[in-house]
Every structure is written in structure tokens, then in C-alpha cells.
Symmetry: C2
């Protein structure tokens, strides 16, 4: 069994990006600049955005955090987005989700200039992905592809089963694994809440990508020998023995499934750390495309 070490790989990627940024600076070029909009005071959201800003600093990107109050109106948020869309200093930006309930998330995501949509959530970019065109791939699926690639996991002709059809992980992942190219060319089955006989399906899979958010959902008896297991679940489970009072738990019963798997991601330290690395990668791509 090989551990797919997202912590290590994400560090490698950040180092590679930092090298690129050094070269840009040495050439007198503008360095990539990521902006993040956060509306309100949600603790988890603030933590996520802060870690994105720190990651920018680490690789030498410029970064801007735009904090808006919890009572921000839709019009005010859209005005801010239009401002970033036009700002030549900003190469890419993200809007931290979830948004307060007075705001229509879909309208907000549609307002982002697709050329600066480094989260890859705009339908224009999603459609480009599904039609095999170059685009910004959403960070979590992009991170999974990168992990599979760097560990040389063979995907062609394999049967990949994706669990969960969310817009940010399951659906894009199911499309990406079936596209031409590498990683890709898998036979892909997308399962979800209406799927019957899930065990029958997962037990045929060469590769399982679980993005369900149900702790310990995937048990050893649902997995065949030598399967590749990608665990995207990050559920906070109360745990008094920890300092924070909770621990992060994946969808996979790691202790037992890992005994059968050929490759497996740990939680934490698997897919999670890859997400921020790929957001940086998308921001670098945005800068490079704007230079052309």
C-alpha cells in the first residue's frame, strides 16, 4: 500500500510555483496576484481564506483580502466583483462560500470574469472543461488529478467510481476521469443519494473517489483488493481528546480499507492540502494567460 501524500506533493508544487515566481521577478515581470472576497464572520471561512493568503505569501504572490460585512447587499458585492474584474493588478480572485442568505450565490458566481475565475466555478469554465478545452479546473478535482499523475497511478481503461455529485467535486471529477488524456480515459460511474446497491458498484471499482461527507462510509467489504482510494471527505467529528474539540474525518474507514488498497489518501494530509496548491497553480496560469 502506497500513501498518496498530499502534504508532501502540495509542498513540492508550492516550491515549483515559488521558483516560477522568482524567475518572473528576475525578468522584471509582474508576479501573480490573487484576491479573495469574504462576506461575514464565519469562523471556518475566515480560517480558509487566511490559509489561502498565507499560501500566496509563501510562494511570492501578491494577495488581497477583501472583507465585507455580514449585511453586505447583493448590489454591493456585485460592484466589488465588477471592480476586481476590471482591475489589471488582479490576475484571479475567489469568493469564499457560503455567502449570507440575502445574496444569490449563482448570480454572484456568474458575475466573475471567466478569465479571472481561478476557482473554476463559472459555467463558461465548467463547460470548457466538459468539452476538453483549456480552462481553470476546480481546485479539488485538479488536486486529485495531480496526485494521481505524480504517483503514476494508471487510470486508462480502469473503472472509476465517484461517490457524490456536488458541483465542486463529484460532478467535475466524473467528467475529468472520463476525458481523453492522462489522468483520464477511465470508465466512470457517478453515484449519489439515489444510487441503489452502492456496494455492488464500489466493489467493482479499480479507483474510488469518495466525496460524500459521511464519516467512515466506505468500508473494507465495499472495496476490492488493490483498489485506489481517494478520500475527499472532511467532516468535523466532535472529539474532546483534541485541543480544538473536534477531529477531521474522511469518508473512508482508513484503518481497514488501507489494508486492501494499492494507493490511498490519508485524511487529513491527502486531498485537503492539494486544494490550496492548485488554487495557486490556477492563479499562476491566469497570470501567464494574461501575459499572452
Amino acid at each position: 500500500m502506497v500513501l498518496l501524500d498530499g502534504k508532501k506533493i502540495s509542498n513540492d508544487i508550492k516550491n515549483e510555483i515559488a521558483e516560477e515566481v522568482k524567475k518572473m521577478k528576475a525578468n522584471g515581470e509582474k508576479v501573480p496576484h490573487l484576491a479573495a472576497i469574504i462576506v461575514g464572520n464565519d469562523g471556518a471561512s475566515l480560517t480558509y481564506v487566511a490559509s489561502k493568503v498565507r499560501a500566496c505569501e509563501r510562494v511570492g504572490f501578491d494577495s488581497t483580502m477583501v472583507r465585507l460585512s455580514n449585511t453586505t447587499s447583493q448590489v454591493e458585492l456585485l460592484d466589488k466583483i465588477y471592480e476586481l474584474n476590471e482591475d489589471p493588478e488582479i490576475d484571479g480572485f475567489i469568493i469564499q462560500l457560503p455567502l449570507p442568505k440575502q445574496i444569490d450565490t449563482q448570480k454572484v458566481l456568474l458575475a466573475v470574469n471567466p478569465d479571472k475565475d481561478v476557482d473554476g466555478f463559472h459555467p463558461m469554465n465548467f463547460g470548457r472543461m466538459a468539452l476538453d478545452m483549456s480552462t481553470f479546473i476546480p481546485a479539488t478535482p485538479f488536486g486529485i488529478l495531480e496526485l494521481l499523475d505524480r504517483y503514476g497511478v494508471d487510470t486508462q481503461g480502469k473503472h472509476t467510481v465517484v461517490i457524490g455529485r456536488s458541483h465542486i467535486v463529484g460532478r467535475p471529477m466524473s467528467i475529468l476521469m472520463g476525458r481523453k488524456g492522462f489522468p483520464g480515459n477511465s470508465t466512470v460511474t457517478l453515484t449519489h443519494s439515489h444510487t441503489k446497491n452502492i456496494t455492488q458498484i464500489t466493489s467493482q471499482a479499480d479507483i474510488i473517489i469518495s466525496a460524500l461527507g459521511v464519516p467512515n462510509f466506505l468500508k473494507a467489504e465495499m472495496v476490492k483488493d488493490d483498489a485506489v482510494i481517494i478520500d475527499v471527505g472532511i467532516t468535523r467529528v466532535p472529539d474532546d481528546s483534541t485541543e480544538k474539540g473536534y477531529r477531521i474525518t474522511g469518508d473512508v474507514d482508513f484503518e481497514n480499507v488501507s489494508k486492501k488498497a494499492s494507493f490511498i489518501t490519508p485524511v487529513p494530509g491527502g486531498v485537503g492540502p492539494m486544494t490550496i496548491a492548485m488554487l495557486l497553480k490556477n492563479t499562476l496560469l491566469a497570470r501567464e494567460r494574461q501575459m499572452k
Copy 2:
């Protein structure tokens, strides 16, 4: 076994659309107007476009056929597209494929105003479809959904296997069958040229949608009892006994598979006739959206 009669259903849909157009006329409203651009003299393409124009006449739409010579440059074609994009008389338009080799098809399709893209080929519309937003669904997948809907074929929780991952049928079909709603909520497996053990996969399917273009590919031994069979194949097979010298053959060995199926589309007369009906439906939708 129930035959999914695309000829009959497409006629029903055309009659319904004709009724809508009558009401529009009675209210003094502008009727839908579809334009079709055709470049060159390909016989099959001319036949397809002519039948689209005839279908417009039948339901009371206005139609415009734009014929450009085989030597049309990319710039000339793009100029024509920009003209149609801006023309308030035109509600929707299509560009008949394939295009001559001096033209970059992807650039051409990207130039179409997504609000007039009644073929649903623009990445913006494709992305909206994949993200469960209202859009123009490509006509052939839209026609299959409509057939399943009108015959009350249950799709929720069923295992749907799609054969072929083309941008215009297989890929969108795999997305649509797994979306929330009806028809949808299927567990979907997308298979293609790299798929191993295709028989093992198809023989588990409750619903098979074959869009491969290989005559008689799907045999009875690949199908379980009471499966629903949708045949999107339309291959011309030489046949001297016919007036035209060929006959249209589907992907399915109809004679033997139909004995096991619960529902099955014939070829011709199944999915084929639905495609033009749904192009008309998308044009009607385009008109209605522009009125709003």
C-alpha cells in the same frame, strides 16, 4: 416490449409548437425565427439543413438559410456569425457541421451568442447544463430525455450505461441522466473506446444509451431482461436493394435485443426524428426568453 416511437412523439411536439406559434400570431407577437449557416456543398449537410428549414415552415417559424461557399474564410464566417448575433430578427441559429478544413470549428462555435445557441454547443450553455442551470440542451440528448419522459420510463435510481463520449451525445447524455430531477437521478456509467469488459458493464444496465456509430454493436447477450434501449447510432450501410443504395442502421441488433427489452427505440424512427423537434423547441425557448 414497447417501441419508443420518435416519429409519433416528434410529430406531437411539432403540433404543440405549431399551436404555440398560432397563439403568438393571434397576440400580434413576433414568431420564432431560426437561421442556419451552411458552408460548402456536402450532400448530407444540405439534406439536414433543408429538413430543418421544412420543419420551421411546418410549425410556422420564420427561417433563414445562409449558404456560404466552400472557400469561405474563417473571418468571413465569423463576420456572418457576428451579424446574426446582433440581428434582433433572429432568435436562434445553428452552424451545420462539419465545416471545411480551413475553418477552426471550436473558434466558430465560441463566437455564437450563447443566448442564440439553440444547438447548445457553446461551453457557456454546456457548463450551465452540467451545473443544473436553465440552458439550451443539445437537441439529441434533449430528444432522448423527452422520449423517456413521454413514455413514463422510470430513471430514478436506475443504472444507466452510456456508450460513447462525444460532445454532442454521449458526454451530455451522461451528465443529464445523473442530474437531479426527472428524467435523471440515474446512477450513470460512461463507457468509451478505452473501456474494458463492456459486456460486463452493459449487462448490468437498466437503461442503455448507445451513441457509438458501429452497426449492430449491441447484441442480445450484452443486455439484461427488461432493459430500456436507446439507439442513437445512424450509420449508412451500403444496400443495393434500396433506392438510395444504402440503409440507415443503428448500434443495436434490434431483431434480437428487442425480444429482451422493455422499451426500445427503432432506427430509423426513434431518436433521429426527435432531434429536429427539439431544435424547434430550443428556438421557441430562445424566442420566449428574449421576450422576457
